[in-house]
């Protein structure tokens, strides 16, 4: 058996690259059918209000308007808006269109018209009378005993508290020489993918609903629409040819997807509903702002003895992934750094009238590990130990518990720290902040993380793959995975080619059509390579077995003497028969009977990362310039090198923005977002990005993944946040515990420090 890795680990041209660079790739809004109507949603301008009266007569009378729906015209049944239930409860609290708005932008009515201009005009003609209800934006306000209940729950809690408890925390604190207790918080960034949400629906005379949607979970969308609209699954087809980014937001099902389907069904015409950029800010999802109170005990020798914490997330007007991220964030904080297996952590999610928070790359871990990793720095400073050395000492490794409760098998986190520290010459560069002076101060910091590949055991991890042999030896690979731009389809082809022994160019990947491809739960939780890829590898192994069996008969050899490499059957290291010749046959056989299908259920694995950041802080303006980032990631095995680098570089751009400049700012009185546009929602652009060096380690391949590969999609956005905060703290000598670190906050911190020393 050949052990040579010829295809994985490389960076072959993406299978869908040509479409993207020539503008021929079809995204949701690019589909246009004769007679298409344009749908638009009328949204509440109030964060909390009941509709008293709604009059659509004028809108319906406008020439070119074909249909108007209000919340009274759609199924009343609530739904969760989520594809798959996570642990904790599944909060079924959303309406397709609502008569009670719970955030600014909640949809109450919709129109379909022959042009976008007329649809816009029609929205203005819908007359609505609202009864204003009290607006609650902060968690402190929402949990008061007498606060207005946004849904029928107690004290605006989405679900009962999530408890993670282990060992003996009291004993742990008792034996500590030093106890630290602080509060940390993260802000409200948004995904800001480049392709606004869009959905196109057709309902034909066979009562079949076809949907082109920009979604991360085609099968989840299919099931939700089937259930909620009462259409059997075989009559619902979701097609996603290309989509322009999602980062978690497009996991959920949105009002426009229901509305689009209903309008198509009612008018009998194709309907397209395309969000404006402003609507993506108002009415999709944000990250959950989270406050973490974290208390830890430490001995003088630097070992941690106990960990106690309260993780509270602000989920906005509807629950969405509130329970999910709260659970993940809470359980994540049980690991990363050992604490003698003594922990007591509680997680809560609270309704407010803020924009709805949902799934976002780094799902709960961004917030939880920010708190933990900054506190690690604080403890190192307290002891006078180098922050990297302190982390290496306490990093989880071989035998330690992961957040899922499984024990780890290697010291990957420590290795990431060691490799990175050496690369950036940490011990030479790191200086205590006391030694710094001058107007511009340099600092260096480190942040770490771990992330699961997949969401097992929280959800049942399933992916399917089918490999079909064609009469000429080429192959069609049908995969359920979704490619949001990650390069997943290319990776799947590489895995299949490597396992099977065929050439990459002989494989075509088919994806994104629920009528055709096998089931997959969707692209999230960093699961695609690990679980989708493993399904593909298993299917390829199955097809290879069929080919070898056929070849053994044809060549009168024993299967054990044969292998496949480079598209050829190989015996004693020599190519003896091409796959093409092997399967050619007559009348489509034997190729047509060479099919391998696998549905793969998975366990969990963890990837790790350490990010090292150098910053310069202008102490007069508070502005932070990130000068250099070194990102060390342990991923088990690289399938596509450019793909892995791309995830790291892109995740860093997002995490960097979240750390210093991105925030959806709400009017404190009305709850209205004040910067729902690219001009005032400040993402780092080409001129703002620092040089990034990526180092990818393959220390701990996991047999659960294809060739040992684990996920990497979410890791980079998690580690960068605490790394930047710690670097800024190092530069200015004031501890930063809250994101985003705006210039004003830097100046406030410096002012506080000056006052203290005076």
């Amino acid at each position: 058996m050949t052990n040579k890795r010829t295809i994985i680990g490389q960076s072959p041209q993406k299978v869908d690259g040509i479409e993207k660079v020539t503008g021929t790739a079809m995204y949701g809004a690019d589909y246009h059918f004769p007679g298409t109507l344009y749908g638009r949603i009328k949204r509440s301008p109030h964060a909390h209000a009941r509709v008293l009266k709604i009059d659509t007569a004028k809108a319906l009378a406008l020439d070119g308007v074909k249909e108007v729906l209000t919340y009274q015209d759609v199924p009343l049944k609530k739904h969760a808006g989520l594809p798959v239930p996570r642990i904790g409860s599944l909060a079924v609290d959303q309406n397709m269109l609502t008569g009670t708005a719970r955030f600014v932008g909640d949809g109450i009515a919709a129109v379909a018209a022959v042009s976008e201009e007329i649809a816009e005009e029609a929205l203005d003609l819908i007359e609505v009378e609202y009864e204003l209800l009290p607006v609650v934006l902060d968690i402190d306000q929402a949990v008061k005993v007498d606060a207005f209940q946004i849904h029928e729950t107690e004290r605006n809690m989405v679900m009962p508290p999530i408890i993670a408890s282990h060992g003996d925390v009291a004993a742990g604190f008792a034996e500590a020489d030093y106890i630290i207790e602080e509060a940390y918080s993260t802000g409200r960034p948004v995904h800001a993918y480049m392709e606004p949400n869009v959905c196109v629906c057709k309902y034909d005379l066979n009562a079949k609903l076809t949907i082109w949607s920009s979604t991360q979970g085609a099968f989840s969308l299919r099931r939700t629409l089937s259930e909620e609209l009462g259409i059997p699954l075989h009559k619902v087809q979701v097609i996603v040819e290309h989509m322009g980014g999602g980062f978690g937001s497009k996991q959920d099902i949105y009002q426009h997807e229901f509305v689009c389907a209903l309008l198509a069904m009612k008018t009998g015409r194709p309907v397209k509903v395309e969000y404006s950029r402003k609507e993506t800010f108002l009415a999709t999802k944000t990250r959950h702002p989270v406050t973490v109170r974290l208390k830890q005990g430490m001995k003088n020798d630097g070992t941690l003895t106990a960990r106690e914490g309260l993780y509270i997330s602000n989920t906005g007007g509807y629950a969405s992934h509130g329970p999910g991220i709260t659970a993940v964030g809470t359980f994540d904080m049980t690991s990363l750094y050992r604490c003698n297996e003594n922990w007591n952590l509680e997680g809560r999610s609270i309704y407010t009238n803020a924009p709805v928070a949902g799934a976002f790359r780094g799902y709960g871990a961004v917030q939880g590990f920010f708190a933990l990793d900054v506190q690690m720095d604080e403890m190192a400073a307290r002891l006078g130990i180098d922050p990297v050395a302190f982390r290496i000492k306490n990093a989880v490794g071989e035998g330690d518990l992961s957040p899922s409760g499984h024990r780890l098998h290697a010291d990957s986190l420590a290795k990431c720290l060691q490799v990175g520290a050496e690369e950036v010459r940490w011990s030479e560069k790191w200086e205590s902040p006391q030694s710094k002076s001058g107007r511009v101060r340099r600092g260096i910091g480190v942040g770490t993380e771990m992330h699961s590949s997949g969401a097992y055991p929280d959800i049942t991890e399933v992916s399917g793959a089918i490999l079909k042999m064609n009469e000429d030896g080429t192959i069609n690979l049908l995969t359920g995975v979704a490619d949001l731009g990650t390069g997943a389809l290319t990776a799947m082809a590489q895995i299949a080619a490597e396992e099977l022994g065929t050439n990459l160019e002989d494989i075509t990947v088919i994806s994104g059509d629920t009528d055709v491809v096998p089931y997959d739960i969707g692209a999230y939780a960093s699961r695609t390579t690990f679980i989708g890829g493993k399904a593909v590898q298993n299917a390829a192994a199955g097809l290879k077995q069929q080919l070898l069996s056929l070849a053994a008969k044809r060549l009168d050899s024993d299967e054990s003497e044969l292998d496949i490499a480079g598209g050829q059957v190989v015996r004693d290291g020599e190519a003896v028969l091409s796959i093409k010749e092997l399967v050619k046959g007559e009348g489509g056989t034997p190729a047509s009977s060479l099919i391998s299908e696998v549905t793969h259920k998975s366990k969990v694995a963890y990837s790790f990362a350490a990010h090292f950041v150098e910053v310069e802080v202008d102490t007069e303006t508070g502005q932070i310039e990130v000068k250099q980032i070194t990102a060390v990631h342990e991923v088990g095995r690289i399938i596509n090198r450019q793909g892995v680098e791309g995830q790291i570089e892109g995740g860093i751009q997002q995490g960097l923005g979240h750390a210093i400049s991105e925030e959806l700012i709400l009017d404190p009185q009305t709850g209205r977002p004040l910067n729902p546009s690219f001009v005032d929602y400040k993402m780092p652009l080409a001129m703002d990005m620092p040089p990034i060096k990526t180092i990818i380690l393959e220390e701990q391949p996991d047999p659960g993944g294809p060739f040992g590969a684990k996920g990497v999609g979410e890791d980079p956005i998690i580690a960068i946040g605490p790394a930047i905060a710690n670097a800024v703290s190092n530069a200015i000598g004031v501890r930063i515990r809250h994101l985003p670190i705006t210039p004003e906050r830097v100046l406030e911190a410096l002012e506080e420090k000056n006052q203290k020393s005076n």
Binding site: E120, E121, D680, P684, L685
Partner: protein
């Protein structure tokens, strides 16, 4: 976007007549980078859009030592950004132009449009005022010239009548030993609106004596404003670090910023101090020929 009628006049008279005829319901279209956004966001709802790009003689950019810099009203920000004359003689304006929006926006946006939009944080306004620019307006009764410094009356408001068209911006030629600077304080390096803008034009006499100075602040008042008291600190004095510091402190006191989604008033005030100091230092070094 919202429906409108579209007209392409070929002369200024025709354009002015249209503005009069459709008073209050018409908007001029030059670069379109403000107008189209405002129509899409329902901030302006014209029934008539009058494209003036077919009118001859407005797309000019010339410099001579007598008349100075003449910018026609159809001249784009990008053209100004790349002009050798502008870069050599009007460094503040060049800096402001290159910091406005993006290249795609600058290829369409006009300096005249930046002026007429009269946003308090507009980039080209402070350096133009610092250089003593004047605007020529064309209306029913002929032409008139106004100093740019006196042109703005409030956020988004100017002295221009509803049926007047800005046709030309004239900027006097620089005196010898003049240094110019524009600093845009923002939260990222491009695609940004200034939270504070400071333009300085500083002229030196023999030695390092400041014979004239103009300090113009953007984004910290309803219109761009000259920091007159700060200027008074410098005029006639030998320029050095201490004097610059004092001027910057005065400038801070003269600013009247508000708090908004981009920044708080107190931060803006503090940045007026920091960036005035830095802009003065930059202009001073340029006046001395050091940079």
């Amino acid at each position: 976007m919202r429906r409108f009628e579209y007209i392409e006049p070929v002369t200024l008279d025709e354009a002015v007549a249209l503005l009069g005829e459709h008073s209050g319901k018409a908007s001029l279209l030059a670069g379109g980078t403000d107008l189209l956004v405002e129509i899409k966001e329902h901030l302006r709802e014209p029934d008539y859009v009058i494209n003036i790009k077919k009118i001859e003689g407005l797309h000019t950019l010339t410099y001579n030592d007598k008349d100075g810099l003449i910018i026609g009203s159809l001249t784009t920000v990008r053209e100004v950004e790349k002009s050798t004359d502008v870069n050599e003689k009007y460094a503040g304006l060049a800096q402001a132009a290159s910091a406005l929006g993006s290249i795609q926006v600058r290829n369409r946006a006009t300096v005249a449009g930046n002026i007429c939009r009269a946003s308090p944080s507009a980039d080209t306004l402070p350096p133009l005022i610092a250089d003593g620019a004047a605007v020529k307006l064309f209306g029913r009764d002929g032409e008139r010239v106004l100093l740019l410094e006196e042109f703005f009356t409030g956020p988004g408001k100017t002295q221009m009548a509803a049926d007047e068209i800005l046709v030309e911006i004239a900027v006097p030629p620089p005196s010898p030993h003049t240094g110019k600077a524009y600093i845009k304080h923002g939260r990222r390096k491009a695609m940004e609106l200034a939270t504070v803008g400071v333009a300085v034009t500083l002229t030196l006499d023999s030695g390092d004596i400041c014979s004239d100075v103009r300090i113009v602040l953007g984004a910290v008042a309803p219109t761009p404003i000259r920091a007159l008291k700060a200027e008074a600190v410098l005029r006639g004095k030998v320029v050095d670090e201490r004097v610059i510091e004092e001027a910057a402190v005065r400038a801070r006191a003269e600013s009247r910023p508000i708090s908004d989604v981009r920044s708080s008033a107190s931060y803006r005030r503090e940045m007026v101090y920091v960036q005035s100091r830095r802009a003065l230092g930059l202009a001073f070094n340029r006046a001395r020929g050091i940079i």
